[in-house]
Symmetry: C2
Subunit: 456 residues, 2 copies
Amino acid sequence: MALEVFHKDETLQMRRKLIGQSCRLFFSHDPVKIMRARGQYLYDENGMQYLDCISNVQHVGHCHPSITQAAAAQMDLLYSNTRFLHDNIVLYANRLAATLPKKLCVFYFVNSGSEANDLALRLARQYTRHQDVIVLDYAYHGHLTSLIDISPYKFRKLEGQKEWAPLPDTYHGIYREDHLDPGQAYADTVKSLIEEAHKKGRKISSFFAESLPSVGGQIIFPTGYCKRVAESVHEAGGVYVADEIQTGFGRVGSHFWAFQLQGEDFCPDIVTMGKPMGNGHPIACVATTEEIADAFTANGVEYFNTFGGNPVSCAIGLALLDVIEKEDLRGNAVRVGGHLKQLLLQLQIKHPLVGDVRGVGLFIGMEIVKDRVSRKPATEEAAHLVRRLKEERIVISTDGPWDSVIKFKPPMCFSIEDAERVSTCIDQILGGWYTSSPSSIPAASAGLQGSISRNT
Amino acid sequence: MALEVFHKDETLQMRRKLIGQSCRLFFSHDPVKIMRARGQYLYDENGMQYLDCISNVQHVGHCHPSITQAAAAQMDLLYSNTRFLHDNIVLYANRLAATLPKKLCVFYFVNSGSEANDLALRLARQYTRHQDVIVLDYAYHGHLTSLIDISPYKFRKLEGQKEWAPLPDTYHGIYREDHLDPGQAYADTVKSLIEEAHKKGRKISSFFAESLPSVGGQIIFPTGYCKRVAESVHEAGGVYVADEIQTGFGRVGSHFWAFQLQGEDFCPDIVTMGKPMGNGHPIACVATTEEIADAFTANGVEYFNTFGGNPVSCAIGLALLDVIEKEDLRGNAVRVGGHLKQLLLQLQIKHPLVGDVRGVGLFIGMEIVKDRVSRKPATEEAAHLVRRLKEERIVISTDGPWDSVIKFKPPMCFSIEDAERVSTCIDQILGGWYTSSPSSIPAASAGLQGSISRNT
């Protein structure tokens, strides 16, 4: 598989014929064919190198040899299922437990973040015996039937029994950075939703939220938000589900889980994890409390996931945890992420188009705006910047309700030099816009089509 | 990971503490710890060999070196997602297309059979704009919220808008082997359900059925059943979904897909596939028609599956197809499956407890009954047989509404010698029951607990 089998045009033609067109390509007008990758670098069919700023799934770097070795060794021994006893699953659950607050001590292994969120929904509903789910606006929790209902980003027309709360975005939202206590104010919006639901005789099973909303625009929750939301949700008999599918495993650097940024006095009742867990391999997980797990067991129905928790997936998961520690990738996220954020903040001073820079560790967003007073999202300019960066062999994409947020979620081995390269390129591209004619700025007609889709 | 990390008792203790108890173990009163496996053989922590009669997921044999090599080679090159162009996904889709009728030519790759069935549900509902689903009694289509509703085996209390049709079981069902045309008779039950639904103003999106119902008791559809069901479903504006998750990839020997046993004049509109596809690796797929895929694309919503269709999963899928061909595993299924069925039919003549032997290729069921006239299922005796076979180092399990069907779904490299070994053991165990005191037969109290759970 090392060599190109088909010429790129033929691959594209076959892809259009054989694969459902709902499955979209990056840069759909001129997609990239990637043959191999290593660390934070991608190589196309001509050997051209691209810097990868968005592959958060390839968490410790593309094709890390330790992961490949662990997978191959276990594949040669046993690739069975969880109905046989095996050490790997308990070793892995034990290692994950050590990263979490004590009460999150029971694990279910599945194959994807979507499967994890679906199971979290089943656990929450079984435990609380309530049905309603509160989610944040612009949230995305997966592609399954049950999750589309709780993903306003995909389907803003939610079914009657679900509510969505305002995104606690202090740049664009109803309460901004000048508010005295935006954490309390946004948490109160959730409380109001619960009260409204109660008035209609409905009951809340759960509040679902990414610990840092990603497709929502790389949002950092204001201080105290999660704790106060959890209080209201618990009061209503519901549970707090922290979706760490994009944000877990040390991406934020200072903590292993992004929900831990909210302080030690906040603990979710269910945590879902996925994308970075296997560095590309399909593995995901739900962690919960003994009480919730017991309620799920009490329904008497077996939960069997054919592939979930198999010895190979767990060996890969264990190897990934080892690499994070051995290579101090959390420390790297703090250092490189911090440096990148500083560089982008300098661009904000220099370029009026850069409205906001926010983030933590290697989870950073840079918002492109028409002007800083109105904060009007500059969707076309952001798309143009993405296209120009691709010409510079930098793969990056946009997020947020208006696709105006340049998002950074690179493999965790991203270096200081990479950060400087991308920042310098952005500086030059933005700088070029002022010295050239205005018409040279965004090719508006190609705007959205040319941008990278969300949810990587 | 080659060596035992914990003593078996400790593994079990940790498992009970760390893993949700809804995830059950085989032989829960005395689970087996498997350290390694090769071909059709499992090895426990003491190096004891077990013959594996049920691991249909490890389709070409446990830990086949060709699969491991293909996986490791691709893992070293690229483990990215389907938003980048890659040859493997189109190569693989092309190979799968060659096994299917021409009209099934568009593919969606996912991570599990459950994800495949959930997507099939979305495709069917989007295309038909209808909601109702007709499923067979005792069916199991997956563990997701959306699929529990269509899996009477898990939840017989279905929601109002769904119907289940009688299982076309000519041994226990309403029409039996002495009926002149059971295919037509059972198909008429589906037609009646559709008419009832229409009277209530409801509309049928789809009929979902495994091409050979597995947890339903290793059922072989009577001739003409599928074609006639498809006619009624199409007339109602619905689509026929063939769930080949357990039965595809040559298990039936004579054909690549079990639905092909129903003749060339039958073709489903959607086929879901999963368990054997990756020989243990999490990969699954939905194949459908251009019309259905186009309707799904037309809703304008992207379908992105983070891991689905990645280069490693497709490399593994391709390697598996090569092994099936190179090792003539379909031919082996015909020869060994045929021989095993003959041996079991001889046991039927000899032992009154063997009520029925049915199956095709390496998909075989042997039904244990109290007596042949009443056909009363002998659940406890079947469980006892499973326990006794475990003592003989043969791993097997039961299926069917009453857990009275001994099921054979071994890796496809199962040999003539393996078939003779298991048949001889069953012969001896059953024979022993007549010469010993009746009380020595099944330990009724341990009956169900000791049996192996379903849905492997």
